[in-house]
């Protein structure tokens, strides 16, 4: 990989920057018998929102907003990066001449004549851009990552090169950053109690792999439950969400297979695809024309050079894209996959629990049949307040994974208290704990999402994504505003996530809010007031769309 270290900066979702994406974009030429009659190809960031093109496939309107970047803002953003880069070079120069003190850790004297471990330019971005605003990430917390959290106060005396903990705690920060969609990040209540009991009985670890001596009854119980929850024949659970992708895709495809991957897919999917040894082609984000073009070409032309037909084609998509807030156009993907006999791998890391009337993810949201998705993958980290991931599907699939998954043979199995937390929270969502709490949480999350998104929109911010997605990216654009927004929000006791390049395209730096069912209306209002205040301060209200004033009135009333 030639990408520098900095290219993975500001974590979040790494993406493929498609080598062949440009090709995929020119796809107006597919004719006649395509499943989706071609309209003029819409640039994903084109007009304000794309309402479903294939309206008939959707049971309810599918509305996603991607308001175009205002031209002036784009120019200013590039200028911002330009200035930062010039200053970066200047300071590197000063450091070289020992005029400025250099804080970067140094190579050992004994190894000075080794080939340098890092190329100097690799860390340019880290040294000169990221360092300035580093205090916005890795903020240590010292409580449950619930609706409110406590942060460890830290100060820096050397412009973020080192941090010192003051020993004080910033209490009751409203948490708009954790993926705690259903509010199961709790230290009290039924789930925590169940997990505590499991700790008492089993201990923390397992000390063996599933295949050897680490297949506990808890794991089997969990897998039966997950299968039932998803509505699939069988499932398998793994100890880490990231590894669920990176260690299982290689078991499913190999040489002679083709993987079609969304350009914004998460790093774990990219890694898994790469480790599989299959050919990888990338389609434009959530763009069905692009996907169909790739499918047609792949089948018609076969493998490059040999022209043998592909052994199989696997489409990799996510349910909710964590940096865009968009929801996959699943009905269309399924129609395509059926028409072209491809297989579908759906990563529901963010959508499981967070979408759908029963919390069963994006399949449930669209009212589709889970059997139409070949591989249902998801994580337990987010909505379930635990850790790990699962794969669900037909019994053949799961049987095959049990015998061929890298994770089952080589990785230590899931910690029993974690498994118990998932079992308890999942039962709660399904209403099998004998209460209505799960349903209420789902309801609350959906209400909170709609409310929060609408209010932000009304305030004049540019927000991205689907109107039903609890991941709400709000555009900041300029690099200096990344740091400023994060800090100003923390001053107002609100913890938010801000992300910039390379987790996002260079000019599309953004803040991201994750809505939780645990947020009360009051908390959201406090957050919204603060966001509006900071938005005025930093001039973030970029949107040029008119806001319907009627609705605003309605909300003003409901506030009283």
């Amino acid at each position: 990989m030639t990408e520098s270290s900095s290219s993975k900066l500001l974590n979040g979702g790494a993406r493929h920057r498609p080598a062949n994406g440009a090709k995929a974009a020119r796809n107006g030429s597919v004719k006649s018998r395509c499943l989706f009659q071609q309209q003029k190809y819409l640039r994903p960031r084109g007009k304000n929102n794309h309402v479903a093109r294939n309206g008939g496939m959707y049971k309810k309107p599918f509305v996603e907003y991607f308001e175009e970047t205002p031209l002036l803002v784009a120019v200013l953003t590039y200028m911002g990066y330009g200035i930062l880069t010039i200053f970066g070079y200047l300071r590197d120069f000063l450091r070289d001449w020992k005029i400025e003190k250099c804080h970067v850790a140094r190579e050992r004297e004994e190894q000075k004549d080794f080939v340098p471990l890092y190329q100097d330019f690799e860390n340019f971005y880290t040294r000169n851009l990221y360092m300035r605003i580093r205090d916005n990430w890795n903020r240590p917390i010292c409580s449950v990552p619930g609706a409110k959290m406590d942060l460890v106060e830290r100060v820096t005396h050397d412009y973020n090169w080192t941090f010192e903990h003051t020993g004080k705690v910033i209490k009751d920060v409203i948490n708009m950053g954790s993926y705690n969609y259903l509010g199961f990040a709790e230290n009290t209540g039924a789930c925590a109690a169940a997990a505590a009991e499991a700790t008492q009985r089993y201990g923390a670890g397992v000390n063996s792999t599933r295949r050897e001596m680490g297949n506990l009854d808890k794991h089997e119980e969990l897998e039966v439950l997950v299968a039932r929850f998803l509505g699939v024949e069988a499932s398998m659970a793994f100890g880490m969400g990231f590894a669920t992708n990176s260690m299982n895709i290689p078991a499913l495809t190999g040489k002679g297979c083709l993987i079609l991957s969304d350009e914004l897919n998460h790093a774990s999917l990219v890694l898994g695809a790469r480790l599989s040894g299959s050919a990888i082609r990338v389609f434009k984000h959530n763009n069905m024309q692009s996907l169909e073009k790739l499918l047609r070409d792949a089948i018609v032309h076969g493998q490059p050079r040999t022209h043998r037909p592909w052994k199989k084609i696997l489409i990799l998509v996510e349910g909710i894209y964590s940096m865009e807030g968009s929801i996959v156009r699943l009905p269309e993907v399924i129609a395509l996959k059926k028409k072209y006999k491809a297989y579908l791998y759906l990563d529901e890391a963010h959508s499981i629990g967070a979408l759908g009337p029963g919390g069963k993810g994006v399949v449930d949201y669209f009212g589709l049949d889970p059997r139409d998705v070949d591989i249902m993958m998801g994580t337990f980290t987010k909505s379930f307040g635990a850790a790990g991931g699962y794969i669900g599907g037909k019994k053949e699939l799961v049987d095959y994974l049990r015998t061929h998954s890298h994770s089952a043979v080589y990785a230590t199995s899931m910690s029993p208290p974690v498994a118990q937390q998932i079992i308890a929270s999942m039962k709660c969502i399904m209403g099998e704990d004998g209460t209505n709490l799960g349903r209420e949480r789902l309801q609350q999350l959906s209400e909170n999402t709609t409310y929060f998104r609408r209010r932000l929109h009304e305030m004049g911010f540019i927000i991205y994504g689907n109107e039903d997605s609890p991941v709400v990216p709000m555009m900041l654009y300029m690099p200096a505003k990344i740091g400023a927004f994060g800090r100003e929000m923390l001053k107002r006791n609100i913890g938010t996530v801000v992300v910039g390049f390379p987790a996002t395209p260079i000019i599309e730096s953004r803040a991201r809010f994750c809505i939780s069912a645990a947020h009360t209306r009051e908390m959201l209002d406090t957050a919204l007031t603060a966001i509006s205040e900071v938005g005025d301060l930093l001039q973030l209200k970029y949107s040029r769309q008119k806001t319907p004033s009627l609705e605003e009135d309605a909300y003003l009333e409901s506030q009283d």
Partner: protein
């Protein structure tokens, strides 16, 4: 004069044209036409030549039949049915309904069911809940994580440590964080699967040397030196690494670390050391293979280990100098893009470190047990013990390896039977499992025997006898 001279040439040419035979002119005319044609014809392209009509495309699409997503797994596939452990996988373990003594889990120090560890994990659970709901960057860094990193660094006597939420992902993420396309990695043939995956993800040039064979390694290093002299410009930017395990999980023997360090300085190659089996096992204080050989830990560029064996929690860590380790905080994929370790598991690891620090005698006890087990397993007919006497996870392999893998593989069911018989007699041992097709160098089939400090002498004798009898009955 010039002008008249030129004119003369022209006249001569016209003259020659008239005098030339007709066939000559025709031929030249054809050639000129041909050139014009070539100039204006479309460039030759393989793909476009087979311009398919939409109908043909449609037919092709109709015709194409993919392979099934996964091949059918036969119902009696040997690895389809897992042994089921009911209740905790501690010293006494219930496998498939039978209570056994555990000789299979990597619970070397018996910390899994340690009360102190459990109390700490519980206290942490009551404070933080279970999950972290985010990656380290986005409110997924807990004070417990920072404490654990500090403690690990202190324990290992290195500048810095970084924790991962999954043992497997640790070295698999660490290698590609440093070694990129074009770099060169020298790696032992017996390296475990997570190293192999890390190497694959790095897309570097990979050179395998024979297991623990320093001469073979030096041969490769020398070859590379010659190569470098040919192309010094490229050599200046090609990073080189040696990746070895402290105590190999696949062979239960130890790497010759002092010699490796010599080679490191001689050929200017960095050393990455994977210590999942040796951390908390080797050395007076359990610091692993560096302490075992009394090698300065700063001479090792990166040490990685998981906390799923001796520490009996979940996750892994890397440690070394800040110059090296800090880089992973932005470049370690499994660190950046994964949810962080549940705080209760970090708390359990901290308490395990406390126990290891307060009571270094446990390492001595463990070594004695290892020696005991190693000794008692000698002389079993048909089976040989593979591994060092101080290794806590030994392998029992066929005594006379037939030399051909196929024959060895046929013996696999026998291995399994041995395991089953032992289970029947209340000794839990397991076959070492690999993915045959995925391993670069598939280790020989073996039965894994794991030593923990909880095993009493009587139990060890019992286990040895049990394996002996089973081997006698099955392997003859």
């Amino acid at each position: 004069k010039m002008a008249s001279g030129q004119q003369w040439v022209l006249v001569e040419m016209v003259q020659a044209f008239y005098e030339a035979p007709a066939y000559h002119l025709i031929l030249e005319g054809i050639l000129i036409l041909w050139i014009v044609r070539l100039l204006f014809s479309k460039t030759y392209k393989l793909q476009e030549r087979s311009d398919l009509t939409d109908k043909e495309k449609e037919e092709l699409i109709e015709e194409w039949q993919p392979e099934p997503l996964v091949p059918q797994v036969s119902k009696d596939h040997p690895s389809l049915k897992y042994d089921v452990v009911s209740g905790p996988p501690s010293h006494k373990i219930i496998v498939n309904g039978k209570e056994c003594i555990n000789f299979a889990s990597f619970n070397f120090l018996g910390l899994l069911d340690n009360e102190r560890v459990k109390v700490c994990a519980l206290a942490s659970l009551q404070k933080y809940g279970v999950g972290t709901c985010g990656p380290r960057g986005f409110y997924g860094t807990f004070d417990v994580h920072l404490e654990l990193e500090e403690r690990l660094a202190k324990f290992m006597r290195t500048e810095e440590a970084i924790i991962y939420s999954y043992g497997f992902a640790t070295i698999a993420s660490a290698i590609p964080a440093y070694s990129k396309r074009g770099d060169i990695v020298f790696v032992d043939e017996a390296a475990c699967f997570s190293i192999q995956k890390g190497l694959q993800a790095s897309r570097s040039v990979i050179k395998y040397f024979k297991h623990n064979d320093m001469e073979d390694l030096e041969r490769l290093l020398k070859e590379q030196e010659v190569e470098d002299q040919k192309n010094p410009r490229k050599a200046r930017v090609t990073r080189r690494f040696i990746v070895v395990e402290g105590l190999y999980i696949n062979t239960a023997d130890v790497c010759p670390l002092p010699e490796l360090v010599n080679l490191k300085y001689k050929y200017k190659v960095r050393i990455f050391l994977e210590e999942s089996m040796s951390f908390g096992v080797l050395g007076e204080h359990g610091r692993g293979v560096t302490e075992h050989f009394d090698v300065n830990i700063d001479d090792i560029d990166l040490i990685s280990a998981n906390m799923e064996n001796a520490v009996a929690s979940i996750g892994g860590f890397c440690c070394g100098r800040s110059f090296v380790i800090d880089h992973q905080r932005l470049s370690g994929q499994g660190y950046c893009f994964s949810a962080s370790l549940p705080p209760m598991l970090a708390a359990a690891a901290i308490e395990a470190l406390n126990i290891m620090e307060n009571d270094p005698d446990i390492f001595t006890i463990l070594r004695e047990k290892c020696r005991h087990v190693h000794k008692s397993l000698q002389g079993i007919p048909g089976l040989k013990v593979v591994g060092e006497p101080f290794a806590p996870a030994l392998h029992l392999q066929l005594e006379r390896s037939s030399g051909s893998r196929e024959t060895d593989m046929k013996m696999l069911p026998q291995h399994l039977l041995v395991c089953f018989q032992c289970l029947d007699r209340q000794i839990a041992v397991t076959q070492a499992r690999y993915l045959d097709k995925e391993e670069k160098f598939l280790p020989s089939p073996s039965i894994r025997v794991v030593v923990t400090i909880e095993q009493t002498e009587v139990e060890i004798e019992k286990a040895a006898n049990c394996i002996r009898e089973a081997a006698l009955a099955i392997l003859k």
